[in-house]
C-alpha cells in the first residue's frame, strides 16, 4: 500500500509538473528576457473595442512580470491611421504600431514598422514557444505580412459572420440560417420582411466611409466571383461577376430597413439586438454586444453562422489588426515592445484573452471544447478562417484614397443617384487615376495588394 501511495504521488506530481510546464517555461523565459529592460516604457494606440479592453484587463500581469510599463491611448478607429501616420512622420513617441490589414502595405513600404525576423534572430528576446505557424495562416498572411515578410502578429481578429435571430427564423418556418446569398434574398427575405410592422429580413451597414467601402461594397464582390482589380491592376468592376454582385446588393435593399445608407456598425447591431431585423452580417467582435442582456434583447434567440456563400463560394469579409514594432523606437524600446507583442499574441494567454472578451488568432485555443461550448461564434469564425481572400480589401498604400472614392460612389449607387454601371465606371476610372499617379502602371511599383 505504501509503495502504491508513493508511486501514485510521484505520478501525480509528474503530471502536475508537466501540465504547468509551458506556462512556467513562458514565465521563466519572459522574466529573463525582461530583466535588462526593467523600467522601459513602451506606447501604442488601442481602440475602444472588446479585444483591447481584454488586453488592458490582463496588462497588470505583464507589467508585474517584466517591469515594462505599457502606455496606451484609446482612439476612435476613424482617427487611428491619421494619428499613427502623423506620429511616425514626426518621429513621435509610439513604439508599437496598430496595423489594420489595409494599412500593412503603407506602413511596411514606408519603413515605419520592423520585420519580425529582425527580432527572432535574437534568441534572448524571442519566446521559444513563439510558433508563427500556430496562428491561422490566413490571419498571419493578411494582417501581418507584406511582400513576403512578416511585420506584425495578429492581435485583434475578425471574420464576417451571419448573426441571426433564431426565434424569428423559426416563426417564419426556418430551422436553419440561409446557406447562400441567393437563399437569403429569395427565400428568407420575402418571408421575414413586413415594412408595415417595421420588420426587415436583413441589415447591411452602409454608412459613407470605410463602412460603405469595406463592409458594404466589397462584401458583394468576392462571393460572386468579382473583384476590385484584375491582375494588371485595372478596374474589374465592369466584369459580369462584379456587376452581378453589386446588382444583388441593390436588389437586396427591399429587405433592408429604410435609410440603410446611414447605418454604421452600431445601428446594424442595434437593429438585430432590438428585433427590427432578423439577420446581419457583422464582425465577430460584435458577439459580446449581441449576447449582453444590457445591450440586446436577443437572449437565447441569438445564433451565429458563417456568412452565406455566393456563386464563387464562401468568401466572407476579413478584417483585423496586427501589432508591430515601430522603427522609430529606441533599441531598448523595440525589444520591450517585441516582448509585449509576443506576450499579447501568445498561445499561453490566448485562453485568458478570449475569456476577457478578445478574439485570439491562435488556432490551439479554439480546439478547447470549453471555449467552443461557451462562445457560439467560435465554430463559424474558425470555419471562415479556413479559406478567404487576404486582399478582400487591397492592402496597398493607395487603398485609403480608393476607399474614399468607393465610399462616395458606392452610397450613390445604393441611393439610386447613379446606376450600377455608371457608378462602377466612375469608381473604376477614378481608381485607375489614383493607381497611375502612384506608379502602378509604369513599372515603378510592384503589383502587390
Amino acid at each position: 500500500m505504501k509503495r502504491f501511495l508513493k508511486m501514485y504521488t510521484s505520478v501525480l506530481a509528474l503530471t502536475l509538473a508537466a501540465a504547468s510546464l509551458p506556462a512556467a517555461a513562458f514565465a521563466d523565459w519572459l522574466d529573463d528576457a525582461a530583466k535588462p529592460l526593467k523600467g522601459t516604457e513602451i506606447s501604442g494606440i488601442f481602440l475602444d473595442r472588446p479585444g483591447y479592453r481584454a488586453i488592458i484587463k490582463l496588462l497588470p500581469e505583464f507589467e508585474k512580470k517584466t517591469g515594462i510599463k505599457v502606455n496606451y491611448e484609446i482612439v476612435p478607429y476613424e482617427n487611428t491611421r491619421e494619428k499613427q501616420v502623423l506620429n511616425f512622420t514626426s518621429q513621435g513617441d509610439l513604439t508599437m504600431a496598430l496595423v489594420d490589414l489595409v494599412w500593412i502595405g503603407e506602413f511596411a513600404e514606408n519603413g515605419w514598422i520592423e520585420p519580425v525576423s529582425d527580432f527572432t534572430k535574437d534568441k534572448t528576446i524571442t519566446d521559444p514557444n513563439l510558433k508563427l505557424e500556430g496562428f491561422f495562416p490566413l490571419l498571419l498572411n493578411a494582417f501581418g505580412s507584406w511582400g513576403g515578410k512578416t511585420y506584425g502578429l495578429p492581435f485583434d481578429n475578425y471574420s464576417g459572420l451571419l448573426f441571426y435571430n433564431s426565434c424569428k427564423l423559426k416563426e417564419a418556418g426556418f430551422d436553419k440560417p440561409p446557406a447562400t446569398w441567393d437563399e437569403l434574398a429569395n427565400v428568407y427575405g420575402p418571408k421575414l420582411t413586413d415594412a408595415s410592422k417595421n420588420q426587415y429580413a436583413y441589415a447591411l451597414q452602409s454608412l459613407r466611409g470605410e463602412t460603405q467601402s469595406a463592409d458594404s461594397f466589397m462584401r458583394f464582390l468576392w462571393p460572386f466571383g468579382g473583384s476590385l482589380l484584375d491582375k494588371q491592376f485595372k478596374s474589374n468592376l465592369m466584369s459580369k461577376e462584379s456587376q452581378a454582385g453589386l446588382k444583388f446588393r441593390q436588389d437586396m435593399m427591399k429587405y433592408m430597413p429604410p435609410g440603410i445608407v446611414s447605418f454604421d456598425h452600431a445601428e446594424a447591431v442595434n437593429a438585430l439586438a432590438q428585433g427590427q431585423v432578423a439577420m446581419i452580417t457583422e464582425w465577430s467582435a460584435f458577439y459580446g454586444t449581441l449576447a449582453d442582456p444590457a445591450t440586446s434583447k436577443l437572449g437565447d434567440c441569438l445564433a451565429v453562422a458563417p456568412e452565406p456563400a455566393g456563386p464563387a463560394g464562401r468568401l466572407p469579409a476579413l478584417g483585423g489588426f496586427s501589432l508591430a514594432v515601430a522603427s522609430q523606437a529606441t533599441e531598448e524600446q523595440k525589444k520591450a515592445t517585441w516582448l509585449f507583442i509576443q506576450w499579447a499574441t501568445s498561445e499561453d494567454i490566448a485562453k485568458s484573452y478570449v475569456d476577457a472578451g478578445g478574439v485570439s488568432g491562435r488556432m490551439s485555443v479554439y480546439q478547447d471544447p470549453a471555449v467552443k461550448a461557451k462562445y457560439k461564434f467560435v465554430e463559424p469564425m474558425v470555419a471562415s478562417w479556413q479559406a478567404g481572400v487576404p486582399e478582400f480589401r487591397p492592402r496597398f498604400p493607395a487603398w485609403p484614397a480608393i476607399s474614399e472614392v468607393v465610399a462616395e460612389w458606392g452610397s450613390k449607387m445604393m441611393l439610386g443617384e447613379v446606376s450600377i454601371e455608371g457608378g462602377a465606371k466612375e469608381i473604376g476610372s477614378r481608381m485607375e487615376g489614383i493607381l497611375a499617379k502612384d506608379g502602378y502602371y509604369d513599372g515603378k511599383k510592384k503589383l502587390l495588394q
Partner: protein, 304 residues
Amino acid sequence: MPETTAPPSRVPNRGYRQWTPFWFLAPAVLTLLLIGIYPTIFALVTSFRRYNIARPREGFPFVGLENYVSVLSDGTFWASLGTTARFYITVLPIQIMLGLVIALLLHKTGMGFLKALARVTLVVPLATTYAVVGLIGRLIFNRDFGVANQFLDMIGIGGFDWLGSPSGAFAAIAIMDIWQWTPFCALIFLAGLSMVPGEIEEAARLETSSKWALLKHVQLPYLLPGLTALLILRSADVLKLFDMVFVMTRGGPGSATDLVSIYIQRVGFRIFDLGTASAQAILLLVLTILISRLYIRILYKEVQ
C-alpha cells in the same frame, strides 16, 4: 500771442521708456505670429509643393501651381463648394430672420426676469461643442427613436428618413446649424438695438405706430455694423464647418452633405495629400476675404 507751456500735471514715470509699448504688445504679436501667421505661411508654401506625408520616399518637391490647377479642375471640389454655398444660402437668412425676431422681442420693455433668463439660455447652444451638436443631431434625427420623428408623428405627419436620404440629411445638418447659431445672431442684433438712443426711438414711436417703419428707419442703421460682422463671421464659419457634419453624416449619404471642409479634411488627413489640401485651404481663404470685402463695401456704414 506768447507761447505758454502748461506745467505737466503729473510727474512722468521714470520706468517708462520708448520701448515700453513694444514689451506690452510683444506677447500678443508673438502669439498671433505663432498661431495665426506661421501656419498660414506654412500652408501657402506647402500648397506649391507635392507634399504627401504618407509617401515620404517621394520627397516634397516644389511643383509650382500644379496643386492649384489640380484643385480648380477637380469636379468634386467644385461640387462640395456648391453644396457649401447651398448650405450657406439655406441657413443664413433663417438665422438672421429668427435672430432679429428674438432680439426685437427681448428689446421690448417689461418682463425683466424672463428676458434675463432668455439671454442666458441663448448662450447654451453657442457654448456647445460642434461634435456634441453632431451627436445630439444623430439622436434627434434617428429614424426610429428620434425626437424629430416623434414630433412629426404627433402632428400627424408620418416619420421621415432624415439621415438616410440626401434631402433629409441636408435638412438635418441645416436645422442643427440654425439651432446653434440663431442665438448668436439674436445677441448681435440685441447689442445693436441697445445702441439706438432712447430719445430717438421714443420720438419715432410718437411719429409712427408702424413697427416696420421704426425698424427700417431708426433701428436698422444701428444693426448694420453688427449684421456685417455677423455675415463675415458666419461665412468663415460655414466654410470651415466640419465637426458637426462629420459626426452626423460623414458627408453622406452619397455626397449630399459633403461640405468643402469635409472634402479638404479627407484629402488632407485620409489621403495625406497636404499639398493639394493646402491649395484648397488657401483658395478658401481668398474666397472668405473676397466675401468679407464685399459685405463691408455693400453693408457697412458708420451710424452718424
